[in-house]
């Protein structure tokens, strides 16, 4: 218990001191995860809407694959991206391994199936009737799809929140493809692993609390848009 309290004290000390190294780690974590969730959203909403509007029977096998990828272990995702970006790998010439770009790619790989899958489920829940109504009022199929997206926005925002929570918290993938290089690719989660390994438990818990506080701030922002999925 005393270690946890010391961790709490350490967290406040870290926040108050505005240590430049910590700030750099925090900003890198946010930059990577926000970039990843934006890209995952750009992939996931159109794909999820498309699948949601198609019948369940027609997309059954794709649904199963997407649901499986939603549970992809981060280390496996990291390993796959590592092998692709490695010097010996198909995209080795790009020299992206151990850069923030590699970390973003790995996180998109983790988050895109989540955004796609949950969007699909949300759209499928209401989509059919809305689409039919829109079409009966003379909307084009593109406009009808847009209407469905608008009406499913709570579910879609929930998908984005879930995806973001996944990437900001994961460590396995960013450790493998980022390499935890101090000042270059070290993020909150990999720093926590390192400090734990070094036996600096107070600092590790302190960093963990800072990460939770950051998550709370970002989630509060998203929640204010989504309002817990409730009515406007």
């Amino acid at each position: 218990m005393s270690r946890l309290l010391e961790g709490l004290v350490e967290a406040f000390r870290l926040i108050i001191s505005l240590d430049p190294e910590l700030l750099q780690i925090v900003f890198l974590s946010l930059r990577i995860s926000i970039m990843a969730i934006i890209l995952a959203t750009l992939i996931g909403i159109p794909l999820g809407t498309l699948l949601g509007l198609k019948g369940e029977k027609k997309t059954r096998i794709i649904n199963k694959i997407i649901f499986t990828f939603m549970g992809m272990p981060p280390v496996v995702a990291g390993l796959i991206i590592y092998l692709i970006l490695s010097r010996e790998g198909p995209l080795g010439v790009l020299a992206l391994l151990y850069t923030p770009s590699a970390m973003i790619i790995a996180q998109v790989f983790l988050a895109a199936p989540i955004v796609t899958g949950l969007t699909m489920v949300g759209v499928r829940a209401k989509g059919g009737i809305i689409e039919e109504t829109a079409r009966s009022l003379g909307a084009s199929s593109a406009l009808a799809a847009w209407t469905v997206v608008k009406e499913s926005r709570f579910a879609i925002l929930g998908a984005i929140i879930t995806g973001f929570s996944r990437v900001i918290a994961e460590v396995g993938a960013v450790m493998i493809v980022g390499g935890n290089i101090a000042g270059k690719t070290r993020v909150m989660t990999t720093a926590i692993v390192l400090e734990t390994r070094k036996g600096n438990f107070e600092l590790a818990i302190g960093l963990g609390l800072v990460l939770l506080i950051l998550s709370f701030i970002v989630n509060s922002f998203l929640y204010n848009i989504q309002k817990g999925g409730g009515k406007n």
Partner: protein, 266 residues
């Protein structure tokens, strides 16, 4: 002095078969090199004791042991070990084996390290050329040694763009050196065990400054009454016995001996 003579002071009794386990806190290098996967099953067959291995950097292993979360330690930071024995955290410490460090680097050797024989000269060349260097950065025995070597060269690489402190194990460090065409200081054991999968050569070896002594010691039962001190002693006896020392000497990876028994320093 040869450490072997100290072994005889441990009373050797017949352990018999025990159905229990001990926790060994050790460094990533003994584990990644495959040595423990070779030794521990033989120990278990002989005593019945299972060995649960927690592999960490030496700094973390020492901390784990000092907190009483392990029974026996196998680590390589001699100065810190002796200090902690002095402080009462550990007892029954022996110089159990040694190996050496090497500087691994890309075959092209852009810093020209192969031309020199001293580690200080080698690090100076890397520093001046600004060639990529991967550091463990995890407060492990290897990392501490690397820091001392930079110091003895009178150089401070921290904050240089080519100096990558990654806070990970030896294996990850060598993998990254392969990927980034960089240099790294590695223990020979891990390097040899991984050699096949690496695109690295030994750029420098044989400088006595690169000797690496391993110690084995038990967590002090006076400080942590719950530790399995008696079993820890059986494990230490096993490693320090003629059989244990011969086994350590016989262990090879890729046809090369990785660890040499006993005391390697003057």
């Amino acid at each position: 002095m040869i450490g072997g003579c100290a072994v005889e002071t441990i009373p050797v009794d017949e352990p018999g078969l025990v159905d229990d386990f001990i926790i060994l806190a050790t460094t990533t290098s003994t584990y990644d090199s495959g040595l423990l996967d070779f030794l521990n099953p033989i120990f278990t067959e002989e005593t019945g004791l299972e060995v649960h291995v927690v592999s960490q950097g030496t700094g973390a292993a020492l901390e784990t042991g000092a907190r009483g979360d392990a029974d026996v330690l196998l680590v390589h930071d001699r100065a810190s070990e002796l200090q902690l024995v002095e402080d009462g955290a550990f007892v029954d410490r022996y110089d159990v084996m040694y190996n050496d460090f090497i500087i691994a680097g890309p075959e092209a050797d852009p810093a020209g390290v192969t031309a020199v024989t001293s580690v200080v000269d080698a690090l100076t060349l890397i520093y001046e050329a600004g060639e990529t260097f991967i550091s463990r950065g995890d407060d492990s025995g290897t990392h501490r040694m690397e820091q001392r070597l930079w110091e003895s060269a009178g150089l401070n690489p921290h904050g240089q763009d080519w100096y990558n402190s990654i806070g990970q194990g030896m294996g990850e460090t060598l993998n990254m050196a392969t990927e980034l065409l960089g240099y790294a200081i590695a223990d020979r054991g891990t390097y040899v065990a991984m050699e096949e999968n690496l695109d690295l050569v030994i750029a420098l070896e044989g400088d006595p400054a690169l000797f690496n002594q391993y110690g084995v010691m038990a967590v002090n039962p006076d400080q942590h009454p719950h530790v399995k001190y008696d079993y820890a002693v059986i494990y230490i006896q096993f490693l320090m016995s003629d059989k244990g020392q011969n086994l350590i000497n016989s262990y090879q990876a890729n046809g090369k001996t990785l660890f040499f028994p006993g005391y390697g320093l003057e």
